[in-house]
Symmetry: C2
Subunit: 334 residues, 2 copies
């Protein structure tokens, strides 16, 4: 899950970050002070992750949703920090589960410190996120983020279950990415509205914006495994392919493939027997069937839904940036 | 962390379980229904763990503390289930971190399903515990258990940092076991009082009972690595020794050891160069310096504190059992 591209300094994430700059700095302060209060090794691992994790996209969503109500409260900042801790905890455990060695161009924590410390540091950040949420005394925000946390782990489980299975249905794939990625986007947005006192309809609208954005975001992320722009930081090209992960390009290509191509997917994805040219071969099949275009079209549909969910909010600068952020999220890949 | 011995059917845990039988059954129902609602593999792992984990000691403490106020509410049951989920989650991650293969005579989940599923199942149970707590709408109970969860992971970290260091101070050792074991005992008790509406003094007294019980419990558990009664289920004799864990017997023996014995500890605990007779050799040194007796004396002091904390509660059958449970916790080892 790479963060949005910050190269274009005038993109909407950048503008949103500038508009919410003071709050975002306060979020970083909360994160750093909590890590400092822990024991030194957790502090090191936490800071490594927090520094590597880029744009603070999820906390930004929480802050932006609250800002739509002119709420820039301490509680919105605490919740935003909690959201980032949940996200960071899942990254740590993801890397252990995936046996990754690179994230956003940096060595992953499990490689530097070992799996056992990564497991424990993830647990600490997760527990710390709940301590932060408790401070806001908002049972509703806690409920939303606890539910998302449950679904994230269920999604990770299900992702492992569909791994090496190119015959997976689109429905099962969307169920997986809904849980493992989109739920936290949704809950990050919803909790911002909750903490600002928005009504249930607004909470649901914010959740839908985030959830659909998360789906689009994950599809593009999966696409970038095969189709990354040059000079981007990020995971290695073909990382998911090497692990035999079942992502949307694979599923769509499998459905269209002839028997020879199906045998190729069985060999590379099911049996993980991969030669040095197989990533290129896979990309050739994707090009033949215009798979990248189809993935982009799918993510555009989710972005359309996402933006539609914002209709009920008043037209503000913040809302413009949220719309822009959604549109630009698709432009990360070629 | 083995559970109390159930062989003597008339011990206090058994009596407490009988007195709170209906509530305890309801706790199991909550646990099972939550696992059933999750995906099948989590269900399998969860049930394996829950079945293996024995006496439900921590939920029993939550229920017992609430029962002192004649509170047998749905919320006390939900909290007790949440406490068991936190405990089970930490066991799953412990076994990954320790690379264990046996717990209470059963294969550990990481051996059966692999580390990645154990990490994810632990995450799920932990997230599920927070979903349960949220249902009680008690910010105070959430706060107590979130804080304990944070401290557990800090304790696990610190335990790894003192590993292979027999020169560790008693203070550092008690800090570790306070966090990794005693905090959850304390919070289990405290949350029972919170949910029953007890005042802050009562909450603190319940916490102190549980915290001191937890310290004594962990000392005896550490002792049992060298000194287990026959025909007990449980982890293998010498498991901690093989890993070079720094436990109280090792620390006390190191302080008294002559130069030859110190070299033995350096070889076996620091350098992990262990021969087939080294466990027996270690036990011989313990016997020479009456280390087991000293450990028991230390745990008796904590049990004394634990029981003293109950003074402010009215004299009831439940209180008698809690006192008995504390006293009997020392009798688990020879």
């Amino acid at each position: 899950m790479n963060e949005l591209n910050a190269e274009n300094s005038e993109n909407s994430v950048f503008k949103l970050g500038r508009a919410l700059g003071k709050s975002l700095e306060a979020v970083d302060q909360v994160i750093i002070s909590r890590l400092n209060k822990s024991i030194p090794l957790i502090n090191d691992i936490g800071k490594h992750l927090i520094n590597a994790s880029g744009k603070r996209l999820r906390p930004l969503l929480t802050l932006a949703m609250a800002a739509q109500y002119n709420n820039y409260s301490k509680n919105s900042i605490i919740l935003a920090a909690a959201v980032e801790f949940i996200h960071t905890a899942t990254l740590l455990h993801d890397d252990v589960v995936d046996e990754s060695n690179l994230r956003r161009g940096k060595k992953t924590a499990n490689i530097i410190w070992g799996n056992e410390f990564s497991v424990l540091a993830g647990d600490f950040l997760f527990a710390q996120s709940f301590e932060l949420m408790v401070e806001t005394k908002s049972i509703e925000a806690l409920s939303s983020l606890a539910s998302a946390s449950c679904k994230i782990t269920q999604g990770e489980f299900q992702q492992m279950q569909i791994a090496n299975r190119p015959e997976t249905s689109q429905k099962d794939y969307f169920d997986v990415i809904g849980k493992k990625t989109a739920e936290l986007f949704g809950a990050s947005c919803k909790s911002g509205v909750i903490i600002a006192g928005g009504n249930v309809e607004d909470q649901d609208a914010a959740y839908n914006y985030g959830f659909n954005l998360g789906l689009a975001f994950q599809i593009i992320d999966d696409l970038m495994d095969f189709n990354n722009l040059p000079n981007k930081m990020g995971k290695n090209l073909g990382d998911d392919f090497k692990l035999g992960k079942t992502t949307l390009p694979i599923i769509l290509a499998w459905q269209k493939s002839n028997n020879i191509e199906k045998r190729f997917w069985i060999k590379t994805i099911k049996e993980l027997k991969q030669g040095s040219k197989d990533l290129t071969n896979a990309i050739e099949i994707f090009k033949k069937y215009k798979i990248f275009e189809e993935c982009k079209k799918k993510s555009q549909e989710f972005i359309f839904e996402s933006i539609k969910s914002l209709e009920k909010f008043p037209n503000t600068e913040i809302k413009d940036y949220l719309i822009g952020l959604a549109k630009e999220s698709i432009e990360r890949s070629r």
